[in-house]
């Protein structure tokens, strides 16, 4: 898990039919940092994540990862470059076992040769999964499924991870466990883009943060700056 993995998004626009979901969004993510996106529902956070991952057609703008332009590349090519994704809503393969889900994470060529070692490391990092290896992933609790989704993503040897609402719908204990894991990944040098409805926790973790409102970036700064910003405090922290 080396530190490379910077990302620059420049003037990105994405539309669903005629509806513009992202309007000239620009942001830059430095390698090894946590960059948080906050915004209300429908602001375009998930759209931005999916566009970066190559899952949505892009209307304008460009995305540069590690100095390489990746705009418009198919998602599996983007994965190959080390850009991983933990999608919203714990997207495990429900009828596959935990073990199969994990192995499925090491699909890309670069990850395949390292699969065994990473698999062992994941069982260290997520002891709960070890107890459930042969169980169908759909039968796990919400928190366990999220752990599995994160572990599966790590099996792909990413250098940058896009997290979309990783604590959504989890118990407070599980949510703080997720944040603990994200912090740990950050400490290991992983670049992280984090979309979270838990604004306070995610800003506390963030090096850089952006506020997204109806498809535009309206505010940006360090996590600490935004935590103190009266507009953020009023709109997103209810203070």
């Amino acid at each position: 898990m080396s530190g490379a993995g910077s990302l620059i998004v420049e003037g990105l626009s994405v539309a669903y039919g005629d509806a513009l979901a992202l309007d000239h969004v620009s942001l830059s993510v430095r390698a090894g940092e946590v960059t948080t996106l906050i915004g209300t529902n429908g602001a375009g956070k998930t759209t931005l994540i999916r566009a970066i991952a190559g899952l949505l057609p892009i209307r304008h703008g460009q995305i540069v990862y590690d100095g390489q332009e990746i705009t418009g590349r198919p998602s599996h090519r983007i994965c190959d470059l080390g850009l991983g994704q933990v999608a919203e809503g714990r997207q495990v393969f429900p009828s596959l076992s935990v073990r199969e889900n994990l192995l499925m994470g090491a699909v890309i060529p670069r990850a395949r040769s390292l699969a065994n070692a990473t698999y062992a490391a994941m069982l260290e990092l997520f002891p709960r999964l070890r107890e459930r290896l042969t169980q169908a992933a759909g039968t796990l609790s919400g928190g366990e499924q999220q752990m599995l989704a994160i572990a599966r993503c790590l099996m792909g040897q990413p250098r940058l991870i896009l997290f979309d609402e990783p604590s959504l719908g989890l118990s407070p204990a599980m949510a703080s466990e997720v944040f603990r894991i994200i912090r740990r990944l950050k400490d290991q040098g992983m670049t992280i883009i984090l979309v979270e409805q838990n604004v306070a926790a995610s800003l506390a973790l963030a090096d850089q943060a952006y506020v997204l409102e109806t498809g535009r970036i309206t505010l940006s700064g360090t996590g600490q700056t935004l935590l103190r910003d009266p507009r953020v405090r009023e709109a997103y922290l209810g203070l």
């Binding site: 495990v92 890309i108 042969t134 169980q135 169908a136």
Partner: protein, 346 residues
């Protein structure tokens, strides 16, 4: 060892039953009358094409309601090559299988490229089968709507190469084809590609996020499924010796193809076989019974199939095989193996 691999997760009892059943089927033509042989040939045919359809829907989750297209193209293609160029069915397959695979992939590509998914994609497959049917009605070189008839060459004994001969010959050929399809599916579900299909079926978004090249993986499923079905079409042409666009390309045929896997167990490898073993005798038996009673009711078979489908959907939505296999102790129940077996066991 290959056989060990093929029977992985099957209990000794399951293996014994399979071997005994296969042995009986191999010896049966010695004693059976031609009617029974024709029914069993039909069962093998539906087991085979059901298997082919299952590759696309059961393994990769892409619904096709137009598989008659590949039966028809395969049948007409091989028949045309035989009648006009004198090429036998096996050589013909070398042509029609890739052609059908490509046709399938082209339809798949159109659908996937323009985001036609799920039910709408299924409608696209119907449309393609239907307009091909209409087109063949008007291709006079292939008989048009009046049908295409293959010359029946008699008195030369069984000719495996040209697929001309006795009911026994067709029986054994179709049995072998069905077994090959069964083995192929068993193998392919254990490959990386098989797992990619599973991921695609279970959660396409997650599969894409992991770097699985979805388009390629989908096209391979459609291509394999269509190519396999084409072989079924070639057999059909040489077995019945006549082809009518209204019959081979019919929507009803597409439906008949997919009933077996649904009844037997969609996404399982043995399901299509079991489904064919249940449905075909049921349909034929009902017709026979009514005939014996002196009643002529067209469409009996369809009604029986319809009822069967309703019962399955109500009581065993995953199909009969997953339930039966565990209940009768034919496979190791899921959870008690290293779940590689799950594809078959559940």
């Amino acid at each position: 060892m290959l056989t060990q691999d093929l029977f992985e997760g099957v209990t000794p009892r399951g293996k014994m039953l399979f071997t005994a059943g296969l042995g009986a089927l191999l010896l049966l033509p010695e004693v059976a009358d031609s009617y029974l042989i024709s029914i069993l040939t039909l069962i093998f045919w539906f087991a085979y094409v059901g298997q082919a359809w299952n590759v696309m829907m059961g393994f990769a989750g892409q619904l096709s309601l137009g598989h008659a297209l590949y039966v028809g193209l395969g049948g007409y293609g091989a028949a045309a090559l035989y009648m006009h160029l004198g090429l036998g069915p096996w050589v013909g397959m070398l042509v029609v299988v890739p052609v059908c695979a490509l046709v399938g992939m082209a339809i798949g590509w159109l659908g996937f490229r323009f985001g036609v998914r799920g039910v709408h994609f299924a409608l696209l497959t119907i449309a393609c089968a239907e307009f091909t049917r209409v087109a063949f009605d008007h291709i006079t070189a292939l008989g048009g709507s009046g049908g295409l008839f293959l010359p029946v060459v008699g008195g030369r004994g069984d000719d495996l190469l040209m697929l001309r001969g006795s009911p026994q010959l067709y029986y054994y050929v179709m049995l072998v084809l069905a077994l090959l399809a069964l083995a192929l599916c068993r193998i392919v579900t254990r490959t990386r590609l098989g797992y990619f299909w599973l991921a695609l079926r279970e959660n396409p978004d997650a599969a894409a996020a992991l770097g699985i090249p979805l388009l390629r993986v989908k096209l391979l499923a459609v291509g394999l499924s269509a190519g396999m079905t084409a072989v079924g079409g070639v057999f059909y042409a040489f077995y019945y010796n006549n082809l009518f666009p209204d019959q081979v390309f019919a929507m009803g045929r597409s439906i008949e193809i997919l009933l077996g896997p649904i009844v037997g167990g969609i996404g399982t490898v043995f399901g299509p076989v079991l489904g064919a073993m249940i449905l075909t005798p049921l349909g034929e038996g009902a017709s026979l019974l009514l005939e014996a009673l002196g009643i002529t009711l067209p469409g009996t078979k369809q009604v029986i199939y319809g009822l069967m489908l309703v019962l399955i959907i109500c009581f065993r939505p995953a199909g009969i095989w997953p339930w039966l296999a565990v209940k009768a102790g034919l496979v190791v129940p899921p959870g008690e193996t290293d779940l590689r077996e799950k594809g078959e066991a559940e």
